[in-house]
């Protein structure tokens, strides 16, 4: 677009780039507004009592009120629900960091016969979608007596193929001279892992932290199956449940949506770099 010397001269040549640039900016900005509007509308609805009955939408409510939020935390156990989501997300994240880092270390630094096969089995099995396994997984967790427990919701999230691959690539980049120097100093694999590898793969650990947390915070199907009682529910399940309970009270439903989305948006805004890089790097080698 910047370079038109080689094309045949056109009457509009001089104004074309400027015009093109204006159109381009306009389209990008309009698109961005379309992306933002549902967020804006979620919030506006949440502070508009009786929004479900209004047929005259207003960009700012006549009588803004936070009573929908009060409903969530008094009539519904939303304080507990937020706590549940937080608890499960934090545990999932910590465990995934540990299981991924240790497995990645083995696949990068501990050669053994059949390692390639074991790695392939890891990847293949972990790529099997949960959706395919819900029946036997439910049976398995039920046999362990863990239906309707946090542990039942947590256990299937404890190993992550994404995490293992991400950290394995990061560990492969750590110079082996560092390990060898440590070995000469008498360090075993445990010490090399904690003192050399872990500090050197912090950016990858940060990326995994965010993805593991987001994955748990937003996960729906498995918690829906395992966590039966209202006081154990996580945000997405409670939010889906609000729709049934408050069919016309859209302010309450939207308030629930704000509560569930706000924390993850805050994390995204602070850690954007890691999120976008994590996604971008998945598409190119």
């Amino acid at each position: 677009m910047a370079d038109r010397q080689l094309t045949v001269s056109r009457p509009t040549r001089s104004s074309a780039p400027a015009l093109g640039s204006i159109v381009l900016h306009a389209v990008v900005i309009l698109g961005a507004l379309a992306m933002l509007f549902p967020f804006f509308w979620t919030f506006i609805t949440s502070i508009s009592p009786g929004a479900g009955f209004s047929i005259e939408p207003r960009l700012w409510p006549e009588n803004p009120s936070f009573e929908a939020y009060a409903t969530l935390f008094t009539e519904r156990p939303f304080a507990r629900v937020v706590g549940n989501s937080l608890l499960l997300a934090v545990i999932t994240t910590v465990v995934q960091l540990f299981t991924s880092a240790t497995a990645a270390y083995a696949f990068s630094r501990l050669p053994f016969r059949g390692r390639g096969v074991v790695f392939a089995v890891y990847l293949a099995t972990m790529m099997i979608p949960l959706q395919v396994l819900i029946v036997p997984l439910f049976v398995q967790v039920k046999n362990l007596g863990l239906i309707n427990t946090y542990l039942g919701a947590l256990l299937p999230t404890f190993a992550s193929a994404f995490g293992i691959c991400l950290l394995r690539q990061a560990i492969n980049q750590v110079p082996r001279e560092l390990d060898e120097a440590a070995t000469l100093d008498g360090a075993g694999h445990g010490r090399i892992f904690w003192q050399i590898i872990v500090p050197n793969i912090r950016p990858a650990l940060a990326t995994l932290t965010i993805f593991a947390f987001m994955g748990s915070w937003n996960s729906f199907l498995w918690p829906l199956i395992v966590l039966r009682s209202p006081e154990l529910q996580t945000l997405p399940i409670a939010l889906a449940g609000l729709q049934g309970q408050y069919t016309t009270a859209w302010d309450v439903v939207m308030a629930g949506s704000v509560v569930s989305v706000l924390p993850i948006l805050a994390i995204y805004l602070f850690a954007q770099k890691y999120v976008i890089q994590g996604v971008a790097s998945s598409g190119i080698k």
Partner: protein
């Protein structure tokens, strides 16, 4: 989770490990080394075994039985599969899932490509726009479904009210069998557009600028450069987007569950919703397991076909 997993497994296989240290020789050392390896692998291997491998095997067994999760299992051979294949319901749920994929994929790919091309230009505030378009990606499918249910509310949702300003009588969206799947597609495309855009933008930025210079020297105009340089060089990213979208698309569930519950009149009932309903509403765990296996076979077949087919059109430069 599946996102990078797949890509890494596709491309990472070639990653050769740098020089291996010599394996310890004496038996005692060998045993200690084996213990070390196990110690590093067990934390991930145990959950993998208990919650993926064993359930997989038992899924095969369950699919061959008649079972409501409570009374004893009765072995019925391949009856569940025969039953599924003879029910029009099965074709319908696969058809609806395919409808979802065929509606969703062109929108996110073409929309994501247009945005990526736009953001790849000299554009003011590029990082800001990229952040905004990516915003819905980090939210949950349920939050997305809930807000779109409200935006697309037939009587007083903002979309139909806005259409009314132009004298258009908006459709019944998720309350109308003809519009329920388009509603789900619209909400899903809105959520994933930024994801596809970021992947394609990274692909565009990885293209060597020399190729464009060479094309210009050969007299290629902007369109010719797009067709002959951009698209072929972007094909690995395109391939990735298509593979991931198909894998995720066949498993679509959350947003359907929260937006339409599969209705009205089963018009948006997808495969996973059917598996869920069979298991937990109709007590037919055997048939549900059989359907799970069919879904898995379809996903596997489609993915393998694409991996084989990629040689024809994906250029790894």
């Amino acid at each position: 989770m599946s996102v990078s997993t797949l890509q890494t497994s596709l491309v990472d296989r070639a990653a050769v490990e740098p020089s291996r240290p010599a394996r310890p020789r004496s038996t005692r050392k060998g045993i200690r080394y084996a213990i070390t390896v196990l110690a590093f692998l067990l934390p991930s291997a145990v959950p993998l075994l208990l919650f993926v491998l064993i359930p997989m095997v038992s899924a095969a067994w369950i699919s061959l039985t008649d079972w409501n999760l409570i009374s004893p299992q009765v072995f019925v051979g391949f009856d569940n599969f025969v039953q599924l294949l003879s029910e029009p319901r099965t074709a319908a749920v696969f058809g609806n899932t395919l409808y979802y994929i065929l509606g969703y994929l062109p929108i996110v790919y073409l929309g994501g490509l247009a945005l990526a091309l736009a953001l790849n230009q000299a554009l003011k505030g590029r990082a800001l726009w990229r952040s905004i378009y990516f915003l819905p990606v980090v939210t949950s499918w349920i939050a997305v479904a809930v807000v779109w249910r409200w935006l697309l509310n037939p009587s007083n949702g903002v979309v139909n009210i806005a259409l009314g300003w132009f004298g258009i009588d908006g459709p019944g969206w998720w309350t109308d069998p003809a519009w329920s799947m388009p509603s789900v597609i619209l909400a899903s495309a809105w959520k994933d557009l930024g994801f596809v855009m970021v992947i394609l933008l990274a692909g565009l930025q990885a293209i060597n600028a020399d190729l464009y210079d060479a094309a210009k020297v050969d007299g290629a105009g902007p369109w010719a450069r797009f067709i002959n340089v951009t698209l072929p060089m972007l094909s690995p990213s395109t391939f990735f987007v298509i593979v991931i979208s198909l894998i995720n698309g066949f498993q679509v569930f959350d947003q359907v569950y929260a937006m339409t519950g599969g209705g009205p009149a089963g018009s948006s009932q997808v495969v996973v919703q059917q598996i869920y309903d069979l298991t937990f509403r109709y007590g037919q765990a055997g048939e549900a397991s059989a359907l799970s296996w069919m879904l898995f076979a379809v996903i596997l077949a489609v993915t393998v076909v694409q991996i084989i087919g990629q040689k024809r059109w994906v250029h790894y430069g």
